[in-house]
Symmetry: C2
Amino acid sequence: MKAVSIKQPGSAEELVIEDREKPVAREGELLVKVAASAINRTDILKRESNQLQPPYPILGVEMAGVVEENNSGNPGFAPGTRVASLVNNGSYAEYVTIPVERAIVLPDEFSFEEGTAIPEVFLTAYQTLYWLGELKEGETVLIHAGGSGVGTAAIQLAKVLTKATVITTAGSQEKLDFCKSLGADAAINYKTEDFSERVEEVTQGRGVDLILDFVGASYWEKNFRSIKVDGRWIVIGTLGGAVIKEMNLWELMGKRITLKGTLLTARSDEYKAELTADFVKDALPHFKNKKIHPIIDRVFPFEEVQEAHRYMESNKNIGKIILSLDK
Amino acid sequence: MKAVSIKQPGSAEELVIEDREKPVAREGELLVKVAASAINRTDILKRESNQLQPPYPILGVEMAGVVEENNSGNPGFAPGTRVASLVNNGSYAEYVTIPVERAIVLPDEFSFEEGTAIPEVFLTAYQTLYWLGELKEGETVLIHAGGSGVGTAAIQLAKVLTKATVITTAGSQEKLDFCKSLGADAAINYKTEDFSERVEEVTQGRGVDLILDFVGASYWEKNFRSIKVDGRWIVIGTLGGAVIKEMNLWELMGKRITLKGTLLTARSDEYKAELTADFVKDALPHFKNKKIHPIIDRVFPFEEVQEAHRYMESNKNIGKIILSLDK
């Protein structure tokens, strides 16, 4: 089968389409013929990683496609069923195998492109807002990088599932407008404004209950100023650097802050299965009734995977970048 | 009534016994004649605080004594009832008023000295281990400053309530031996050993589920090395400095650590009432059956409050330093 790997760790030039062996579904697994995959920042980190040794892995962590073989005994996933899922061993490929507990049956209304736009960003946003962030009805949440894949997912979930007040940051008017169209109550241009001052204004000095932080070091002080006493702060990315130069523990203790670090990809199969089940129950109905939408920026054919990676690196996308095997 | 305040912010020399007005129990409150109070590190911080303006406050945050007037309507606290409690407005005094929800009825077996040794350290340890740290049956907890008031309380609670594996640090053989006698499974001398290496050994490389951190900056890196993936780390003191010079967020994310800052004294009356109720239900029975003991190091008469403060500052105590109004 065709699959995308790398010639060696490095830039998008190193991506290569190779022939790989078609995987075999073990007990409890599905074999899925992939129709679409999606580009994630973690794929770029992997592509560049000097830790990798040959034979290099297949890239990609999510896909949508059609079940070709069901080796799970679960009658809900007969051959022909359309599914979307996180994938452990590479999704930029014609075939993948996945544990059945992790498969989401794709609603009929959804294309495969829309399907593959769901797992990584919506599961990450759902996990961060609810499992880790414990967001409750009517609270206020600050979502950084509102125009990103996880940002656009988190804005929608927070509004639809919990009627939260959503404050978001982004770096262009186009992204700010888009965040507003998704329901954000306030959208702040971090390039022209001090977001902590705007947060103070919007929350009338109270601060936010929860911060979704994809940015890290460059927003550190301002996040401390923006958070409420007893607030929760979840670190899931370091777009603005990973090294905090100085932290005074009395600020952490004085505001009684809960600071959590997380990464979705390293979680156990069991964790991902439970998270998927919770998400399907709580959030998927709102996709069916069109209150929540997978956000697609652009679809690239499989052969243009280098282009797709470069496009993500240019940081211009709003929502997901898709790799289609149908085209 | 007699009460201890300060002449001006500064050393123990500034402590002074003055005449103050006897407080009046408002609705929902008890008036208590104090028999014993206890010295806490927060009293020393307050004594030194340049933020204070005259009239200077009465020091002290906990006491044990006898109800003199019950203005709460709760028949469980009739005049003559022996109680112990956290106090908001100073406890180094002949009388205090307290919200009735916060009063712990003192078991008959307990002296007033033992009674005042309970509220601050046991409520802090209970809150940190269970409300914040979510310690579960059979987990492993690292308790720093094992010989301190909160340390000795936490070791006992963790062993008796949750059969946890307890690893503790202290700075003298006497303190280490005492921690062991309270049930600690491992006691590490932080002056002669790298505690993170011993933790690795004791946990067979797995690390601890929970850290109770009274130390802060000077242990920061070693705590990061000692904690398990998905571990919880509660910062409740900064004996080793408050300013972290550098923190890499990937360490937080890679180990998916939950870091919480807390201070008990600033909590709301409602919070303290709920915490007290939980503690009375879960832990007090074990005091009655002698499985858990309030730990008293030394009792000073009320008039020797300066001596008592200097003794705490010398850092030699194991367990509580008490101020007695009976002697």
